[in-house]
């Protein structure tokens, strides 16, 4: 090809890449909801789990601990912070242990007679009022007078305080200086965000808001803030994953470049060899941008890693260049095999698509499009640009010696059988469960964070994230009625110490029927005034002092019952809204459970409810979700394997040759499983994904080693290409194995082991090496 044409081709290619890059940066929307990397739910419990994980009241709860100052200052900071956050629309609820008289919206104040249980056991008659007023008089003479003085005219029976007590968390930490303190002397707060728990970006903003508010307070500059909870975890997980992936990616890239320079001694070749992978990456992202409204950040991070396979294509081309031969001719020779490799890798990655997990589907689209783009540009664009004069690697003395040594390796026919026996023995030796079903094990979180969370959760009496009481009914009203019916049973469980506390939706809002029943008991103005006159007789209260009380009762008599929708406008209504959700035309009430001591007793709540009340074990649901997900991946793998056998057999036109390619690959895959099992690694979904990737790489090695060209020089080139590929894969995934994040480590370790085993087994089981070697000599 003339120089001018080559320059034009290169310029054209670069231009297309630049335009694609420009378009992608303009249209790409990167999302961060971690749930799209979790399996898709199928049962109602699993669906509830996913909703809970993302948006449930438990998942939006942040636990705060302020320390680093003396106790009095911490208490003041806690009060000031709570005050500021309550006024901030990003936070639905803020609790710090102080009595919150403003919990009830002033506009809703007359509703207190419909919300408080007082009227269930008493009437607002002269006897009751006389007793209450006598108590208020004693309160006025007590040191606590200032607490009650303001409330007295409007609320002589202190319904507001009864409601505040009812709405306070059931199990509270120690109160010092008026606010919650941990045994370690930190001021504790509970904050519920409006943002869903598993949206790291929104959570990060909410957490940053808390930090800024605290540090802007007088004396808050040096206070230390510790945050915990699902929202914080999602922030940590996403930043850590991003940071580590970036960090590892940078080092791998440098190592990779050094390796290629060493292997090919040509900067020009190196730069050109980068073009197919760059094309693949851009084409992959462009495809994602077209198909999906939002692309997950993790898809991109993992996708770039997986696309490392595509770097094999130009490497094969570079290693297989013959002295004096046109690059185009070299590629033409290589193409059938390369095409088989590309097709097989695409088929293997198709298993990701069948997993049904949105993030993995995106990963499949990205890698398949990327591989195709990289493969075809390697075939149809790259060869025309490569320098004509090259160094034939087949002439390298060390490679000759290495090839001779490799060929001299004994290759007894029993190797596969010995390996198979070894695999069975190792698998049998392994102790403990084979599969990792715990969804938490997939959440990349350091243990000290989890321990800290457990400590704060214990200190704050915050609900467990594990159990959930699920009430189902046709309308919100029916859910509240069901919840009320459950209250005596729940009280009995708490009294029997089976659980520490259960928070039901009816704790915040009684059903309309109950509200109406209470309303019926409210006396009319004349009756109340008469009862009041009788009750205050002989007491020193100012005449007409209780006019606001009489007015409120009169108002309460004609109020429409408070609905969840109307209640939602107040801060506590937000809390209720999170516990009362609509799903598929019916309503679900969610009761949070704290401190489960007897799970069996808790399960009795569901008895006799006809399925309207269920105790949901989120851990159980999560595990069933993982099992379902794994089954799907395994099925997909089975289909992928069949397709692979078919593809390879068709491509090689021989079952025997297909066996020589597929046997080492299969054995190596199982060997990785067996070794990890003996090492005590429980197999998670990420291990499976990593095995698929390693299988794809191993397939390349086996395919190329199996190729019988009858040419010793070509065999040396194959060895060279495979060595470069293996080293680069070990470099990239060996780096990942150093990551502290379990997911990255699982992938890195599995792929590194896999690449090593695939390489060794494909060499040892290559059928014709001795024949080729003999021909050369």
């Amino acid at each position: 090809m003339p120089l001018r044409a080559r320059v034009a081709l290169l310029a054209g290619w670069l231009l297309v890449l630049a335009l694609l890059g420009l378009w992608v940066t303009k249209h790409l929307q990167v999302g961060s909801d971690l749930r799209s990397f979790m399996p898709a739910p199928t049962t109602p419990d699993q669906r509830l789990l996913m909703e809970q994980v993302g948006e449930g009241p438990g998942s939006r709860l942040l636990l705060l601990a302020i320390s680093g100052r003396d106790e009095a200052t911490l208490a003041k900071l806690s009060q000031a912070l709570a005050g500021k956050l309550k006024a901030d629309p990003r936070y639905a609820q803020v609790l710090n242990g102080s009595f919150d008289l403003t919990a009830l919206d002033p506009k809703l104040l007359p509703y207190r007679y419909l919300l408080s249980p007082t009227l269930d056991s008493h009437a607002l008659d002269a006897t009751f009022l006389a007793d209450e007023l006598q108590q208020r008089l004693e309160d006025l003479g007590s040191p606590a007078a200032s607490l009650f003085k303001g409330l007295l005219p409007r609320d002589p029976t202190l319904e507001v305080l009864k409601l505040a007590q009812r709405w306070a968390p059931a199990r509270s930490p120690q109160i010092r200086d008026g606010v919650w303190f941990s045994p370690q002397g930190e001021a504790l707060l509970l904050v519920q965000t409006l943002a869903p728990g598993f949206d790291p970006d929104a959570q990060q903003e909410a957490i940053a808001g808390i930090e800024q508010t605290l540090h802007a307070l007088p004396g808050g500059r040096d206070a230390e803030l510790v945050v915990s909870g699902p929202g914080y975890f999602s922030v940590v997980a996403s930043t850590q994953t991003r940071e580590q992936a970036d960090w590892i990616g940078r080092i791998s890239t440098i190592g990779f470049i050094a390796l290629l320079l060493l292997a090919y001694r040509s900067i020009g070749s190196l730069l050109l060899a980068a073009l197919p992978v760059a094309s693949g990456a851009l084409a992959g992202i462009a495809a994602l941008t077209v198909i999906y409204p939002q692309v997950h950040g993790i898809t991109l991070a993992f996708g770039f890693t997986l696309l490392g396979v595509a770097q094999e294509y130009p490497i094969r081309v570079l290693s297989h260049r013959r002295a004096g031969e046109d690059a185009v001719a070299s590629v033409r020779d290589l193409w059938p095999l390369l095409l088989t490799a590309i097709a097989s890798a695409c088929i293997a990655y198709l298993a990701f698509y069948a997993s049904g997990v949105n993030g993995l589907k995106q990963l499949a689209v990205f890698t398949i499009v990327g591989l195709l783009a990289a493969g075809f540009s390697t075939r149809y664009l790259l060869p025309y640009l490569l320098p004509v004069r090259v160094r034939d690697v087949a002439a390298l003395p060390w490679l000759k010696r290495l090839r001779t040594a490799v060929d001299a390796l004994p290759r007894p026919r029993w190797v596969p059988w010995a390996v198979a026996v070894l695999i069975v023995a190792l698998l049998a030796l392994g102790r403990g469960p084979f599969w990792q079903n715990d969804l938490a094990a997939l959440t990349p979180l350091p243990t000290d964070l989890l321990l800290r969370d457990a400590r704060l959760r214990e200190a704050l009496g915050a609900p467990d994230v594990r159990y959930l009481l699920v009430l189902e009914a046709a309308t919100p009203e029916a859910v509240l009625a069901l919840s009320e019916k459950l209250e005596p049973k729940v009280d009995a469980l708490v009294a029997g110490k089976a659980v520490d506390a259960i928070e039901l939706p009816s704790r915040y809002l009684p059903s309309a029927a109950t509200q109406r029943a209470r309303q019926q008991k409210l006396p009319d103005r004349a009756t109340l005034e008469q009862a009041l006159a009788q009750a205050t007789d002989g007491l020193p209260f100012r005449r007409d002092l209780f006019a606001p009380f009489v007015a409120d009762v009169e108002t309460a008599r004609s109020l429409p019952p408070l609905t969840p929708q109307a209640f939602a406008a107040s801060p506590l209504g937000q809390r209720l809204a999170a516990m009362l959700v609509e799903r598929d035309g019916h309503w679900v009430g969610l009761g949070t459970v704290s401190g489960v001591h007897d799970a069996a007793a808790l399960a009795t709540l569901a008895q006799g409810s006809g399925g309207t009340v269920r105790v949901l074990d989120l851990k159980g649901a999560a595990e069933s979700l993982v099992i379902a997900y794994r089954t799907r991946i395994l099925q997909a793998l089975l289909v992928a394997t069949l397709l692979l056998v078919l593809t390879i057999s068709l491509a090689l036109r021989s079952l025997r040759r297909a066996w020589h390619v597929l046997a080492p690959m299969t054995l190596a895959t199982f060997l990785v499983l067996a070794v990890e099992r003996v090492a005590g690694v429980q197999v998670s979904l990420f291990h499976l994904v990593a095995l698929i990737l390693a299988g794809g790489l191993g397939l390349h090695y086996a395919l190329f080693f199996e190729r019988d060209t009858g040419d010793a020089a070509e065999q040396r080139r194959t060895l060279h290409a495979t060595l470069v590929c293996v080293l680069s894969a070990l470099l990239v995934f060996g780096m990942l194995a150093w990551a502290t994040i379990p997911v990255l480590r699982a992938i890195g370790l599995t792929v590194s082991l896999g690449v090593a085993f695939h390489f060794c087994l494909s060499i040892l089981m290559a059928p014709h090496a001795q024949a080729g070697h003999a021909a050369e000599e």
Binding site: F99, L140, P143, K149, R176, R543, L545
Partner: protein, 183 residues
């Protein structure tokens, strides 16, 4: 120095009779009993009439126990009058003028007969929002009365020691002021 002279060794006990003049009430509320300083920041206010009630103030917390009712406790921060009471009482009984000056701005007036008046104005803004001033009337080495003027106009007047027995059945601010002056 006067404040130093008022000090007593702990535990110090004194009878008290308190009349509270409040806007919500037609006539003052009168309770009586004993105030005890047990050393440190621990104060016990034991009411015997017209009902039994014990309030114990210790470690920044108030624990209230009433006849036939359960215990109730709340933080001192929520009851500024009590905080003021502790600050002034403990400082006075402990003979600790420095602590008194830390919490209050102090004005002192005395006459030749040995009668004196201390007026304490809380320095902390939040406390001052509820308690405007504390006034202590005394004679010689003895505090006789304590006036707690709240910001909303309510006032609590405590007759201390031997004067406690002289609480009239229907006290007025004027009659109590006269008692305190030793008339």
């Amino acid at each position: 120095m006067l404040i130093g002279q008022l000090g007593r060794p702990a535990p110090a006990r004194t009878a008290f009779a308190e009349a509270r003049f409040m806007q919500v009430l037609d006539r003052p509320l009168v309770v009586s009993g004993e105030l005890a300083w047990l050393g440190g920041d621990t104060l016990v206010r034991h009411v015997t009439r017209p009902h039994e009630e014990t309030a114990r103030i210790a470690d920044g917390k108030v624990t209230q126990q009433r006849e036939g009712k359960g215990e109730r406790s709340f933080s001192l921060e929520r009851a500024p009058q009590l905080k003021v009471l502790v600050d002034s009482f403990v400082a006075l009984l402990g003979g600790d003028p420095r602590r008194l000056r830390q919490a209050f701005a102090i004005a002192r007036r005395g006459d030749a007969t040995g009668a004196w008046t201390l007026t304490l104005t809380p320095r902390e803004l939040e406390v001052a929002r509820t308690v405007a001033t504390i006034r202590i009337d005394g004679q010689g080495k003895e505090a006789r009365c304590m006036w707690m003027q709240e910001a909303d106009g309510d006032v609590a007047i405590d007759l201390l020691g031997s004067l406690a027995a002289k609480m009239p059945a229907e006290p007025t601010r004027e009659s109590l002021a006269a008692l305190c002056k030793g008339a």
